[in-house]
Amino acid sequence: MRYAMTMDIKKCVGCSDCVVACQTENNVPIGFCRDWIVENVDGTYPNLELEIRSERCNHCDDTPCVRTCPTGASHVIEGGIVKVTPIECIGCGACIQACPYDARYFHPDGYVDKCTFCDHRVTKGQDTACVSVCPTKSLAFGDLDDPNSPVSILLRERKWKVNAPEAGTKPQVYFLT
């Protein structure tokens, strides 16, 4: 099993519903978020292109954050989901520095927190919170090992890219272009 997410750049309108859904679902403290919106403008006026992306932890195959964790609080669970066990985290911040995507933050309670791919929902067969609320269906979630999952189909049929491939982390959030 290998969970992955696709994000359709052509459909996203940047409404931030995914951000709010995540904050509500996962009890994210006020002022913090586990996913976020990026708006990139390319070109010079009048030939402008706007790219809107919803970003989150990439649940990489090769995880610099888990490698650097001194206690094993950061770990990879089944399906390739990168998780933090709050009670084991000593709050040293090494994983925050190691992540090229800045996907981790300090929880006010002193431990490091991040996107969990809503593992409490996906183990029940549901979509993640952000995917299930997306009004334009730009987000999709599924198992890469299953050829009929929504992400497998989209990745076969569409062109895609990933964020910061130069980091060598093999990110598992794909952006459909």
Partner: protein
Amino acid sequence: MSELQSKEEARKSFDKMAKDIVRPMQNHFGLNAWVFTLFLILSLFGYAWFLQLRDGLGVTGLHDYTSWGMYIANFVFFVAAALVGMLITAVLGLSGVKWITPISRIAEIIAVSFAMIAGLVIVFDMGRPDRVLNIFFHGRLQSPIVWDITVVTIYTIISMLLLLLPLIPDMNIIKKRLPKASNMQLKMYNILSLGWMGTPEQYKIIHKSIRVLSILIIPVALAIHTVTSWLFASTLRHGWDSTIFGPYFVSGAFVSGVAAVIIAMYVFRTSYKLQDYLTDFHFDKIAKLLVLVSLVYFYFNINEFLVPAYKMKSGDDHHILALFVGEWAVLFWFAQIFGNFVPIVLLLFKKMRKPGPMMIIATLAILGAWAKRFIIVVPTQLNPHLPIQNVPDSFHVYTPTGPEIAITIGTIGMALTIITILAKIFPVIPIWEVAEEKGIDREIINE
């Protein structure tokens, strides 16, 4: 007849020397004022730490972007200055350099106190200091943090042994020469002298163990600062993503360490009145050592900045410009000029290699060294690899808050407290080694 006379003279000169070195341990002008200052600093620290324990790291200026700030810069500084113990006792001691004999104990005192506090500083930076033992219960070998904690602990232990072992004969000397010492203190000297009598066999053992430890400490000392640099260099961040970070940090460490030793030498020389033992000759020699290590550091600085500045790779360019001409320029050039250029240039002149001017130069070098650690740690984090948009404006600046500064000053106060205590209960100059160097008979030293 003449032999007897010379023996009498040797005894006299040894007595005078032991008296000179032991006297400041008992009466010391201005000690009360100094202890009171330290007490104030530590109480302020205690209050700030209480605030941080109660409310969490939120009381500091650390935020989403800069999650390692002043504390980690301070940690790197402490580890750096602690390395001087290895440089002086091990590298110079093993290569048979003579002039380090009266300085070696000061260097070891600095190494022990700074290494001890370095371990502690990490705890202040943790979000959950109550879980610090998880590193030992759940430690994972592939994490640089675990390497760091391991080597800092080993270095502290070996440095402590290197401080205590050469103290054994001195304990034997001073326990007879401290009239005002309390019973407790005498008991401690008795235990620490480990039944030293000065037999040839004991001399053989002590020389051998010091030698073994001096060899052992070299790789450990190189490891502590190299691993500390890997905490940064093993991440993909502009300004940290460098392969020479290990030697770059080690060479910088020698500069700040030697500067710290010069300051300590000056302070002990004036306040303990040890002008006859820490002479202008020793200052002249250590000034040349500071020039040498600064030159090595200068070489690594050129490597570290010229190569990325020549390429101006995207991402690195932001960082380099921010340091050279941008918002960090003042601090950066202060660190480079006073922490590196000034010691090289000024100490080349014989006039400057005198205790007074050297004290000023070393103080500036220490301030520059601290600023340099800040420059290494903070600006890189303000330019993340993939900047997230629409973050609060406050994310792009890092301002340490009051409690943060109080805790940082408190850690420096703690290191000074340890140095003060060690210099109060132990002689700051190794009496037996200096006496031996003067050619005084072992019989006289150990009687």
